[in-house]
Symmetry: C2
Subunit: 404 residues, 2 copies
């Protein structure tokens, strides 16, 4: 398996584009993205668990009752959530897109991200979608990745190439992350494409299984958005024997999918709102996978741990505190904690008790911009990793004045 | 019922004191508090739900197997948690206190607050407890309230006077709050005294019932501490017929208790680490009390809502988002949201959709230092209030460098 260029256009048969259509006031900022597969693709998606759902989520769920699609359209700058005519507008955008591409409105996946509860008008879409479709190209992943950014500071796109049944297959993805990110089942906006031939049922299964260990293990701020969505299109153009059951090919596909999603997770966490550091929490030797995940996510979500990491402060007591309220029944006196970065590794807690360590050495390790918190529960053999970021002045600044 | 002066010494038969004994380096900062009732008092307590528990919690739980006590001792500057000899030290502190007061070690309630995982030595207690006991006085509540402060910026103490069976009864309390506060069942450190005659069983029942609507409804940072404790002593010196069942007298006692605890809650929330504003979330017309509490606590805990309040930004979409992930099954299209302060009230969301409102007027309201977020679920008749604070640069600053 190799990482390759091209993002969502790396797999065969996909084009993409991104334009400024006028949802945002700033004309320099693209605000509308489109991904298109001429060949109808198997489609799978997972959605936010927030019971307040954006209109695009509701429309996409309806469209994917038949799990095939040709296109993904996404705007930034407005979440189209809690708007009285939101569903009507989202339906209208699908219809405009379908008309331009010569497909059915129900073959369009739609997503929106931005402020909640601001009216969204159809006019920018009416004027923007023709040019957006016109400009679709096999090098357009970049423009699409740019158009879905909100407070993101870097574009998130990547692709891998791998082999199934002697055929070269590819998976590509773009994502937006940043704030209101504490996914539960689904998450933020992630659009994946593949040319692998795979049935809709196996595609949904793979996506769901993967998300539990990838996107659902990120937390930026414990806020689960109303508009989270991860979706994948699989148009089958790689020509591999279609994956219709679990087996070697399914496992190969999942491995490739995991390579893409875990890298996207890291880049989303590292680019969390205001973040200065990527924090990875690795929990080992847990009694169960569920326990490992709960502990890792609890630590990564703690405002106090996040603040300590911002200050490069080896305050491991806060790590233990977050383990303690994770809901997992842990034996405190078996827990080891180490901090690790490119500068080395230092153990700070052994069997639940503090040990002597060099504060200066710990500081050196924690001053890096990618930190790993390693927790050994010594209670079994399961492990999990969660990703987050530090809590900084800038998070507060960005979110104290987001709408202006 | 009247609010009166005197804190924990307002009820008959209580003395208190606070000194600097050397746990903290700064000699200006008191670090050891003592509350004493010469007459043995019925005692009740509730504790942190964190499965990593401080040694003082474990020792107090054991001491209160027989639910009577004479004294509460508490140090700040060190949590005595995750220390190999923590239980031995906590037991030693109880023994020193008991010796000085002429009581049994098992009649001492012990609590600690401060950094987790730093060794705690007995020497400062050996040298400090005699002077601490010597200086006990009926005007010592103030000194005790000061000695339990950590990053608190104001002392929290108050008392009420009320009548039961023709007898004047009193309840007094001191508290410390600030950081690592998202109580679950129990909370932070709150020490309450009363001269009301009440059985230990009814005292525990009253305390538990009250905490579910008071301390368990505060969140500063979603971090549930390892050392939270709320305890109450009731020495019966008011001379009322002892409360031994539910009934008018029990209801009167609970009303007075609630007056004390809700005020302490507000003062803890308002003095949250780095906080500039007290945020109160009032949920009305919920389908059940449980729903009302879950929604109120979810909103008050949202980093995004807290950041918006810091920025005086009427970003009500974040409020709806937090309602949505509260776990309560809400009908979005019935929800109304208003913001309120001493400057007035403004509705921003009606039936789940944004309504036109004056941003300038909203800003004026939100610039106050006590904000109420009012959420009408229009789904029933239950209501609840939760208390929190805004998320500020100072929270990050304080917690990025807490240990230094």
């Amino acid at each position: 398996m190799n990482f390759i260029d091209g993002g969502v256009c790396a797999p065969k048969g996909y084009k993409a584009n991104g334009v400024h259509c006028g949802i945002r006031k700033n004309k320099q900022k693209k605000d509308l993205a489109l991904i298109f597969s001429e060949k109808k693709a198997a489609a799978a998606a997972i959605y936010t668990q927030n019971s307040v759902k954006g209109a695009p989520i509701i429309v996409t769920q309806k469209n994917l009752l038949i799990p095939y699609a040709n296109a993904i359209i996404c705007n930034s700058g407005n979440a189209n959530t809690c708007n009285a005519n939101g569903i009507e507008i989202a339906g209208g955008i699908c219809a405009l897109t379908a008309k331009e591409l010569g497909i059915l409105p129900s073959d369009v996946i739609i997503a929106s991200t931005g402020v909640i509860g601001q009216p969204l008008y159809i006019e920018p879409f009416e004027s923007g979608i023709p040019a957006l479709a016109e400009g679709l190209s096999e090098t357009g992943s970049d423009a699409a990745a740019e158009a879905i950014m909100t407070t993101d500071t870097v574009k998130k796109e990547l692709a891998v190439s791998f082999t199934i049944g002697g055929k070269v297959c590819k998976i590509g993805g773009i994502a937006k992350g940043s704030g209101m990110i504490h996914p539960n089942m689904a998450t933020m906006l992630v659009f994946l494409t593949t040319d692998t031939a795979i049935s809709p049922i196996m595609l949904q299964k793979a996506l769901k299984e993967d998300a539990d260990g990838s996107f659902n293990m990120i937390s930026i701020d414990k806020d689960t958005s109303t508009n989270d969505m991860v979706c994948i299109l699989a148009n089958g153009l790689a020509g591999n024997p279609a994956i219709e059951t679990e087996g070697t090919e399914y496992i190969e596909f999942k491995k490739a999918l995991c390579a893409v999603t875990q890298k996207l997770c890291k880049s989303i966490a590292k680019d969390g709102e205001g973040a200065a550091k990527l924090i990875e929490c690795e929990v080992t030797n847990a009694g169960s996978l569920k326990d490992a995940r709960a502990v890792a996510k609890s630590v990564i979500s703690s405002n106090l741990v996040k603040s300590a990491m911002f200050g490069s402060d080896a305050n491991w007591g806060r790590v233990l505190c977050a383990v303690g309220y994770s809901g997992v029944n842990v034996d405190t006196e078996k827990i080891d904690v180490s901090f690790c970065s490119s500068k080395g590794e230092i153990m700070v807690c052994n069997n639940g008790f503090g040990i002597e360590f060099s504060e200066q050495r710990a500081k050196e390790i924690l001053l890096c911009d990618e930190i790993k918190i390693m927790i050994n529960l010594n209670a079994g053999s399961d492990k999990a990793t969660a990703w987050g970021c530090d809590l900084t002045y800038d998070y507060v600044k960005i979110n104290g004045d987001y709408r202006t």
